[in-house]
């Protein structure tokens, strides 16, 4: 996949990086990424992926922009209130980088449609706001063999990991699934959502940008990714911890039981 002169200038700071260069930038241009949710995480994620020169960006979101979103969902603007998030994200990305092909899926991702949605993409990034979607996306990515970058936010905390549950490690053991880490979803109503608990807006910017780094890494392939590692961030005391996790024989996808 060749780059035009204006693309070469646009991506000049990537092209000089040994880890990306021409071949890496061509991989980005050829890649198709599905972003789940254009909220606090999805906003910076979509912006950095578009700026980085991703070939195709799909977005699944069935929500409309509301005034209380704007404190952290920076891809949308004041004039966008009441509009579909897929529409306002499309306009923002077009302005940012016209080379990106944008696909809107103005629907809610469910266990029923998840596999069909992820099929047309190379990498999936989940920044959704509920456990139902998180489990549906991670199961669908396993079944369809897609790498998944998944992150979540609390009031002052964020978590991030990368899942390649459909593949084995070099020693033959399976990579862990999302369910190896979180086998049981919390009973409904026990974990307060952003609407009730509140959230520090800039936290979403940090964690969403970290998601973009992981997505770009999965496509280009440099350094050490977060497969088998969970990054926990506590913005309250500014702590970053990386916890190792492994395949669990009890998991329902690749387990033994």
């Amino acid at each position: 996949m060749t780059l035009s002169p204006s693309e070469i200038e646009r991506y000049a700071r990537h092209l000089v990086l040994r880890e990306i260069g021409g071949p890496g930038q061509a991989k980005l241009k050829a890649a198709r990424v599905l972003v789940v949710g254009a909220g606090g995480l999805g906003s910076p994620l979509l912006q950095y992926l578009a700026a980085a020169g991703l070939g195709t960006i799909g977005l699944v979101d069935d929500d409309l922009v509301s005034l209380s979103n704007l404190q952290r969902q920076v891809i949308h603007g004041t004039e966008d209130i009441g509009k579909a998030k897929t529409k306002t994200a499309a306009a923002a990305l077009e302005k940012l980088n016209p080379h990106v092909r944008f696909k809107a899926h103005a629907t809610r991702l469910t266990a029923e449609n998840a596999r069909e949605l992820v099929q047309g993409y190379d990498v999936v990034a989940d920044g959704s706001d509920n456990f139902e979607t998180r489990y549906a996306v991670s199961d669908a990515c396993f079944h369809e063999g897609k790498p998944l970058v998944t992150a979540a936010l609390g009031t002052f905390d964020g978590s991030l990991t990368t899942i390649r549950a459909h593949e084995r490690r070099s020693d033959g053991a399976w990579n862990p699934t999302y369910r190896c880490l979180f086998p049981t979803p919390p009973p409904p109503g026990t974990v307060p959502a952003c609407a009730e608990a509140g959230i520090l807006g800039a936290l979403a910017g940090v964690v969403g940008s970290l998601m973009a780094i992981e997505v770009i890494r999965e496509i280009v392939g440099f350094g050490e990714g977060l497969v088998g590692r969970l990054l926990m961030m506590d913005a309250h005391s500014m702590r970053f911890e990386t916890l190792l996790y492994e395949w669990d024989a009890h998991n329902p996808l690749t387990g033994k039981e």
């Binding site: 706001d129 905390d157 049981t184 974990v191 911890e241 190792l244």
Partner: protein, 83 residues
């Protein structure tokens, strides 16, 4: 023993970490959680759905039946839902 808390476990307990002398009878993560739940309302609230909160011994994720023998640091982290 250093105990470290994240996300809503940290919020409910009200501190990011603490040093605690553990009683000798505690041998697994599940024992530790049961004992912590008796330390006050804030701990009982944090571990209300104990099966949901995950633990890591010396930064390695473990199941509730894992032995804590030789552990220097135990972290508790729950799934989060916000996006």
């Amino acid at each position: 023993m250093k105990l470290s808390y994240f996300a809503w476990v940290r919020e409910r307990i009200g501190k990011p970490e603490e040093e605690i002398e553990l009683p000798a009878h505690i041998s697994t993560i599940a024992d530790l959680v049961a004992w912590l739940k008796g330390r006050g309302e804030e701990y009982a609230h944090a571990f209300e759905h104990a099966e949901v909160v995950r633990a890591a011994i010396d930064r390695r994720h473990v199941r509730p039946d894992a032995s804590i023998a030789g552990a220097r640091e135990i972290a508790f982290f729950p799934p989060m839902t916000g996006g």
